[in-house]
């Protein structure tokens, strides 16, 4: 961990605050769901540790992490898309 990562971390905190302060409340559920999918990037953490796993226990835990992370990222984006595809304007008859 070096200061570069800390720097990026601090900037990201402020960007996160700025981004969401302008969201109308009708989009809060899709937004929560969308950001939920974004933290599914933990899947990559799971892939990296499982790739290096040396013991059966490490492989088992890494495997569970990959399954969880994969469900988080794929399920998250899909469920958000399903919510959002319903936000349509009135169809002209």
């Amino acid at each position: 961990m070096d200061t570069n990562e800390l720097f990026i971390f601090i900037l990201s905190v402020f960007i996160g605050f700025e981004l969401i302060s302008k969201v109308p409340s009708m989009l809060h559920t899709p937004l929560m769901s969308g950001t939920n999918a974004i933290h599914g990037i933990i899947l990559f953490g799971g892939i990296l540790v499982l790739a290096d796993a040396a013991t059966p226990l490490a492989q088992a835990l890494g495997f569970v992490a990959v399954v969880f992370g994969s469900a988080n990222v794929f399920g998250g984006f899909m469920v958000t898309d399903r919510m959002l595809q319903m936000f349509k304007r009135k169809k002209q008859p």
């Binding site: 996160g16 969401i20 409340s25 969308g34 990559f44 799971g46 990222v73 936000f87």
Partner: protein, 472 residues
């Protein structure tokens, strides 16, 4: 990190930021979600071992077979959940996915810790601290989200409290933090591993103990908070394994999620500490119900008469609440609004920020029923115009239309912004019975002179209204 990987990483960060930005407008929200997904895909392409080769150029091994199976399994489970879930059960699904992410974050940090602690030199304090953080927050988020999921599914929905609960929770937290502090500087050897495992399970237990006392109706705030927790845990994992994409993505989720949580609490006029430690339903109901100020009588109305009022109104505002979701009445509401629209009545939906079980819950439900989103008006915009509304139709909403929030200084919800339904010419309340709302307090609206109560199941009442309007 090679220049190419660095450039890809910058692209990933930009895609996530633009994605969240586009998610903030109804017109672009769907593209925003896809943009963030594209960022995720790009990050996968650039995935490399910290300081080492890309995962794509390493030789195939049994572990990679496991990875492939794991991804496909997760994809299957995630897709099945995402496409089978009913729109009314959406909050649960988000809670569940969030819990899985938190669990994954805790497992990744645990792996790194256990491996590092078995090396003779152990783990340096900054990395060890990041791993503790990710493990504690991740397992807390996992356990808490599962409890939140079960609560929203209707299992043990009531707050569970017992004397000394805060003290016990405080003690557990203290033990967890002490262990984490010790492990940060002594992350080496068998004792550290034992201590770590104890900490892991205590954090799981704490997640359960933290969410159990909170009532089902407060779950949106809890899920939003746990969502930001998971983001922070992922960011800490990013520090621990040296993956910048994880740091950025996790932090963005953490900070935006924290702000969203605060916005939700502000809309309910309650400090976030009150939600987490208050056990609202049990504590306040006693004092609230006793508060006086109920004047007037309840005046029931039949569907035929209500339909007449609606058909000859110029402007109708519908206030949906959790009761509409429970009764699955959103399609009937849309039918009624279309039927009225055909007769030249202007129909709008007034959306309270915390109506339902999640912010935006009502929007999602009504969108599912094909109500165009330009008919959905937020509270701040519609309140100044309520004087000019002929009929206000309150469907399964209670506390969010209670005028006590403006009139009764002694009321526990005094000061909470509400939709001012009582200012309309006539207010029709669809309600199953005279039971109090989630806050356990009398709703003064039901006793106002211009309020009529249409008792019964919301869906049945609405269908009766549709039939009666058609017959007019």
């Amino acid at each position: 990190m090679s220049t190419l990987v660095a450039l890809i990483f910058i692209g990933v960060a930009v895609l996530f930021i633009i994605g969240i930005k586009l998610l903030s407008s109804p017109k672009t929200a769907r593209i925003g979600n896809l943009t963030a997904a594209a960022g995720m895909f790009m990050a996968l392409l650039a995935l490399h071992q910290p300081g080492g080769p890309s995962v794509w150029t390493q030789g195939w091994s049994f572990n990679y077979t496991l990875i492939a199976i794991g991804i496909l399994l997760g994809l299957g489970l995630g897709a099945a959940g995402a496409y089978s879930v009913k729109m009314t059960a959406m909050p649960q699904m988000v809670a569940l996915f969030n819990g899985l992410g938190g669990g994954a974050a805790a497992l990744v940090a645990s792996q790194e810790f256990l491996r590092g602690a078995q090396r003779p030199e152990g783990i340096g304090a900054p990395l060890a601290a990041a791993m503790q953080f990710a493990t504690i927050i991740g397992s807390l988020s996992f356990a808490g989200s599962i409890v939140a999921y079960l609560k929203l599914q209707g299992k043990f929905e009531k707050p569970h409290t017992f004397p000394g609960q805060h003290l016990l929770n405080g003690l557990i937290l203290l033990v967890i933090l002490s262990l984490a502090g010790w492990l940060t500087f002594q992350a080496v050897g068998g004792n550290a591993v034992t201590g770590f495992v104890v900490m892991f399970f205590l954090a799981l237990f704490f997640g359960v103990a933290m969410v159990l006392p909170i009532g089902g109706a407060d779950m949106p705030v809890v899920i939003s908070l746990l969502n930001s927790f998971t983001g922070l845990a992922v960011a800490a994992d990013g520090f621990a394994i040296g993956n910048l994409a994880m740091v950025v993505a996790g932090t963005l989720v953490g900070s935006s999620g924290t702000l969203l949580t605060l916005l939700m609490c502000r809309a309910m006029n309650r400090p976030v500490t009150n939600v987490l430690f208050g056990a609202f339903g049990s504590g306040v109901a006693v004092g609230g119900a006793a508060a006086g100020g109920v004047v007037g009588t309840v005046k029931p109305i039949q569907a035929d008469e209500a339909a007449l009022l609606l058909s000859y109104a110029q402007r109708v505002v519908v206030v949906p609440g959790y009761g509409m979701a429970v009764a699955q009445a959103q399609h009937s509401v849309r039918e009624l609004s279309e039927e009225l629209g055909r007769r030249g009545v202007e129909v709008q939906f007034a959306i309270h920020p915390v109506a339902g079980r999640m912010p935006g819950h009502m929007n999602v439900l009504l969108a599912e029923a094909n109500v165009p989103y330009d008919q959905l008006i937020e509270m701040e915009q519609i309140n100044p115009t309520m004087d000019r509304v002929d009929v206000c139709l309150v469907i399964g909403a209670n506390d969010v239309v209670n005028p006590a929030a403006r009139e009764e200084k002694s009321s526990p919800i005094y000061g909470m912004p509400v939709i001012e339904a009582d200012r309309c010419k006539t207010t029709i309340v669809l309600k199953r019975s005279m039971a109090a709302g989630f806050a356990g307090i009398e709703n003064l609206l039901f006793y106002k002179d211009n309020t009529r109560m249409l008792f019964g199941d919301a869906k049945a009442s609405l269908n009766a209204l549709v039939a009666a309007v058609k017959a007019n």
